[in-house]
Amino acid sequence: MKLITERREISSRLLRFSAPIVSIAIALFVAGFLLLASGVNPLEAYREIIIESLGSIYGLSETLVKTTPLIFAGLGVSLAFRMQIWNIGAEGQIYMGALGASGVALFSGIGNHWLMMGAMFGAAFLCGGLWAGVAGFLRARWKVNEVIVTLLMNYIAILWVDYLVYGPWKDPKGFNFPLTAQFSDTARLAEYFNTRLHSGFFLAIFCALVLYLFMERTVWGYEIKVIGSNPKAAQYAGMHTGAAIFFVLFLSGAIAGIAGFSEVAGLQHRLQHGISPGYGYTAIIIAWLAKRSAIGVVIVSFLMGILLVGGDSLQLLWQLPVAFVYAFQGLILFFLLASDFFIQYRVKLVKGGRHA
């Protein structure tokens, strides 16, 4: 007897949908032992996670609040993935987006709400886009590896924001905390149901739909897919691959930048130190799991949102250490990635090595 793996030529639809569910179940099972070891009844804990994140208007709204920036950043990253471009810099692009939007909110003095929203959105879009565009330019012009550039620029972006909130933009009445003054009401997104859920969430869903149409229905999406599949063939067919690389990285960063806008305009209403606790990095995993599809990004982001909110409640309720929450999230990711393997490969038990 021998185990072999064989690449599935075309993975079945049923499998693609069922595998993630099965793998989450396995992850919950394994994590159960961790919980038992810390003296918590796993079933109770899981019930708690579901109730906390989905069981009430408040819980659901908190989950959606966490889902929102993940969708934006995940969409941005997945767009670049479609062209085999690896944008590891969504985190920095979120920060730059937030910086741009905050600059407009604090200093433009626009009085009209819709104008203000448009200007903040535009600023975030541009700042995030240009931040990633630098990597796009370097890659298109001199073949500089975009992974390195986007990654390193994360640090620069985060430090820029820190410089501003610790320095020139610091709220004089803020008791020396690293944050800017609160935005005026014109610079805030609408909130709903008396919760923190803001219109950024609906903007994210809308963005996903637009991106889906963009990729599947427009000539640009088509071009991006051809270049991603075989750059040489694209060039032969007369496509300008260099321009496309810049354009796609710009757009990828711009969409991640919108996350920054949505966070400051919808949730925090100011720019401050640590506005993103790593959404940009989680976005890479989301894009990977979502198989680069825009609709997939929304679904996976929502799952991540549940994990984030539910994890918080575990911490509060049972005083579990934060490390446990990370381990729990890690396990789930691990099994999701593993299920990916089983979707792509078939494992067979074959009788006999050579001569049977």
Binding site: K2, I4, E6, E9, I10, S12, R217, T218, V219, W220, Y222, E223, K225, V226, G228, S229, N230, K232, A233, A234, Y236, A237, G238, K348, V350, K351, G352, G353, R354, H355, A356
Partner: protein, 505 residues
């Protein structure tokens, strides 16, 4: 002699495709057994099953009467079955010797290298190959690289050698060389499974021929009981070979003129060396020459894959040497090496999408920035029908098509552009006879509509049949033109070796 290998009732399906339905045949020791079948009949898939790359759904393989179940190419190698793949698995920067060592099971250590060297040398001498053990692989011609693959298998004492369309990338001279080596191997008792679409080769070297049709093995014929016609009719069955007629082109209008064109290759040598050519409207201009005399560079510079270091390409009176206009004016079709990632297709995308790669912005396939999916599908259905492209389920990636069918996708796409000039580089290599005829018909029909074709081929019969004029190339230069109705194979042969001049212009 008892059968060495038996294949019985093999079935292999892919989602939505039955690639092999019920295939049986056998190979005896010391025979050359040819597999013949249309594009997509299942030949490559069968060989992949035989070498353990795919696991059959049903059926069995027996070696010396013993049932075997291969789970990887390593298993089949250890049973003495080796395959020369069409995309060679060589490390370009390493020497020939190192590449051969890499393929051995127990990699020799420093001390017995000499011994291995001697053994390899012996093989090279025995078969009279022209191969320098110390030259890096990237410097070698494709023919020479194929020798390396063959030697790798011989060093491992394979009893059965599988060659999947080996001659598709060889010049006729190299192919003859290969055949004499195969004959010698046969004499030593080795068995060979050979795949080719070229009838002449099949007739020349096969001891037996098994015909595959739509995943079934429909007949195995012994030498003496088959001829070209019988094979063709078995293989194609009731399908008709398209009929076409060559009409002489009379126009004297020059649509493309190449003046003093020079192109350097990666090694810094001149592939084209002040090459001149005049192409008339509506003519099929055949290019004859021993492979490696600049034909490929000519095709590449015309289709924009390489740039010229000197000289001009003139379209009517416009200089398009470095202009983007070239892309709209000239289309190119070429033989697709089995290595599917080559230029020409986006392997992960569907047939539909690949067919519009050059025209996706056309009004026919898009409205403003939106693609017209219905029109794209309609176009694909039409092309698939016209060119008899065998595809998987709708929407499945092109990568999974058979070699010949990928090539048909490209040909269909390039010809639908209705280009003024078509550059065809070995367009019928790897195509089954029906499809090759169809491509000829399309080129001839195009000529009647006023399309001019530069047809680069090495099969003189193909050139003589199709061309209005033939230009002969030697060492990157134009030797001269001949009239195909008024020349002999000998005359062209002499010109190809640079010994005789033709008529100018």
């Amino acid at each position: 002699m008892p059968d060495f290998l038996q294949i019985e009732h093999i079935r292999k399906t892919f989602p939505g495709v039955i690639a092999l339905d019920d295939v049986s045949f056998s190979v005896t020791g010391g025979e050359i057994h040819t597999l013949l079948g249309e594009n997509g009949a299942g030949k490559s898939t069968l060989m992949n099953v035989l070498t353990g790359l795919y696991h059959p759904d049903r059926g069995e393989i027996r070696i010396d009467g013993q049932k075997v179940g291969f789970t990887s190419p390593r298993d089949s190698l250890s049973c003495g079955i080796g395959m020369v793949h069409q995309h060679f698995m060589l490390v370009p920067a390493h020497s020939v010797f190192e590449n051969i060592l890499l393929a051995l099971d127990n990699v020799p250590n420093l001390f017995n290298r000499k011994e291995y060297r001697a053994r390899i040398k012996q093989l090279i001498d025995q078969f009279g190959l022209d191969l320098d053990l110390d030259s890096p692989v990237w410097k070698l011609s494709i023919g020479a690289q194929q020798w390396i693959e063959l030697i790798k298998l011989l060093m491992r004492d394979c009893r059965l050698l599988i060659l999947d369309e080996p001659t598709a990338v060889l010049t006729p001279q190299e192919a003859d060389r290969l055949f004499s080596v195969l004959q010698q191997l046969k004499q030593q008792g080795k068995s060979i499974i050979f795949i080719s679409h070229k009838m002449r080769e099949v007739m020349q070297i096969s001891d037996r021929v098994t015909i595959l049709k739509k995943g079934h093995s429909i007949a195995t014929l012994e030498r003496g009981s088959f001829d070209e016609n019988r094979l063709a009719s078995l293989m194609i069955g009731t399908d008709q070979i398209p009929e076409w007629q060559k009409n002489l082109q009379m126009s004297e209008e020059i649509v493309l003129e190449i003046q003093g064109l020079s192109v350097r290759n990666d090694r810094g040598l001149s592939d084209l060396d002040s090459f001149d050519l005049k192409l008339k409207k509506g003519e099929i201009l055949g290019i004859a020459g021993v492979a490696g005399n600049g034909q490929k560079a000519l095709a590449e510079v015309l289709t924009g894959l390489k740039s010229a270091s000197q000289g001009r390409i003139m379209a009517k009176d416009k200089d398009i040497t470095h202009s983007d206009a070239k892309k709209a004016y000239i289309a190119g079709i070429a033989h697709i090496p089995e290595d599917r990632k080559s230029i020409g297709i986006a392997p992960d995308m569907s047939v539909d999408e690949n067919l519009i790669m050059k025209s996706f912005r056309n009004g026919a396939f898009s409205h403003w920035i939106f693609q017209d999916k219905k029109a794209i599908r309609r176009n694909a259905a039409e092309k698939i029908d016209q060119f008899a492209i065998k595809t998987g389920p709708d929407g499945s990636p092109v990568r999974y098509l058979s070699g010949g069918n990928i090539q048909k996708v490209i040909i269909a796409r390039e010809l639908s552009e209705k280009p003024a000039v078509l550059v065809a580089l070995y367009p019928t290599r790897g195509l089954d006879i029906g499809s090759a005829e169809y491509v000829h018909k399309v080129i001839a029909d195009g000529a009647d509509r006023g399309m001019s074709t530069i047809l680069i081929a090495e099969d003189l019969d193909e050139l003589l049949k199709l061309s209005d004029r033939i230009a002969v190339m030697f060492r990157g230069q134009l030797v001269g033109y001949v009239d195909p109705r008024n020349t002999t194979r000998e005359e062209i042969g002499l010109m190809m070796s640079g010994e005789k001049q033709g008529v100018a212009g």
